[in-house]
Symmetry: C2
Subunit: 231 residues, 2 copies
DNA sequence: GTCTATAACGAGATAGAC
DNA sequence: GTCTATCTCGTTATAGAC
């Protein structure tokens, strides 16, 4: 009986994966707004009602795709972080940023799903939050390490932003100075501004050597969070 | 005869505007991917084929909406720029950035149309470029004025990026130092990263006092382009 | 000449009966 | 699960009103 259950569970996992693969293919062709359970079913030779055994609604399928995308991006970023030389924080920072860029260029439609326009009528549940936070956690960790070693540069902070910055530090990066927490959140958004502009074509006919441009920009972002180049 | 032509032209302008208004309403409800000529015609009490007198295809309607959105954003930014005190370049910079943010929050669907995920199957023609460049031109102008007055701070530039930076300067901002041109393009993308994260909900449950946060971030962006606070 | 209305096409989605 | 009848879509051809 346990083997039967095991086989059943295995089959279920396989079908679930096949559904998500087909849905991702459709995402690339028609976009998330037009993702339709029927088309997915057709591609798999199933009938649409059968899909509801695996995903109770179109929105649940979307949520699964979103979590998968965040996790795939997070894994790529974490692998790059682990492979970067531990001694140089700016290197680790740029390695993470470059991994984000490379992943986004390799998976533009999944990138659009998580960082592009919201899908009309869909609202992401809280379930997506942990996966969505993975890249941010990496960046926080790098700055925290440097701060722990006493190597964080001083950053300006206006009186206007101090309360918000302290709240951000307490919520997201306990132990970090408020100005570093605020700079981190800004750098996080700006990183995805750079990546999004390239993936979505805003750099067409503007930036040519995008890799060099990106590396330079994210190195400056590292500096804006208090990381300093090893001299 | 000239009055007849005038009346005809006026009617044509009015109908064109009504079509675009209805299309914008549909954009807000269903998203750009599902924009349908028939639904627009239905809302206006017209028959779908009549729309083809005004827009030769659905893609042409989309293009018109995109250009309108860029122009609306550009006008808002230019008005804010004109109203800002001329003597303080950082003030002018932040005024432009804040106008972009305010416009985007007031027109989230049009913002998604121009800076969000690309519409599947649609590729924007070159016609959109001048309207799309308006905000960028403003930012370039601010930095150029400061440079003309000899007040631009020195900026770092790696050897790796120098050729690209010089090409960027020659193409987009003749007369500016290469490092300032590269920094400007990066700041341009990063600005829309900040705005996009807020408009698309990535700052939900993260940033609370978004106005203060934004002002602080774009002031730092000004510094990254060589603008210095009047002390 | 400028417009709107009718009708139709081929393709695809959708709902429901079976 | 299957089949069918009925929708929607973009687009074109055509005919007639002003």
């Amino acid at each position: 009986m346990s083997t039967a259950q095991g086989a059943r569970a295995r089959a279920r996992t396989e079908v679930t994966a096949a559904i998500k693969d087909a849905a991702r293919r459709q995402l690339a062709q028609e976009g998330a707004a037009k993702l339709s359970l029927r088309a997915v079913a057709r591609e798999l030779g199933m009938v649409s009602s059968a899909l509801y055994r695996y995903f109770p609604s179109r929105d649940d399928l979307l949520t699964a795709l979103i979590i998968d995308a965040y996790d795939s991006l997070g894994e790529a970023a974490e692998a790059a972080h682990a492979a970067a030389p531990g001694g140089d924080p700016v290197r680790r920072w740029t390695a993470v940023c470059e991994a984000v860029r490379v992943w986004a260029l390799a998976h533009p439609h999944e990138y659009a799903l998580i960082y592009g326009s919201p899908v009309p009528g869909y609202s992401a549940p809280q379930t997506t939050v942990p996966a969505a936070a993975r890249v941010g956690r990496l960046l926080i960790g790098i700055v925290r390490d440097v701060h722990g070693a006493g190597g964080l540069a001083e950053l300006p902070l206006t009186a206007e932003l101090r309360p918000e910055a302290e709240r951000l530090a307490a919520d997201l990066a306990p132990g970090l100075p408020a100005e570093a927490a605020a700079a981190l959140v800004a750098a996080w958004a700006e990183l995805f501004g750079l990546v999004g502009f390239e993936v979505f074509g805003q750099f067409n006919r503007v930036v040519e050597d995008r890799e060099a441009f990106f590396r330079h920009a994210v190195t400056r972002l590292a500096g804006s969070c208090g990381l300093t180049l090893r001299s």
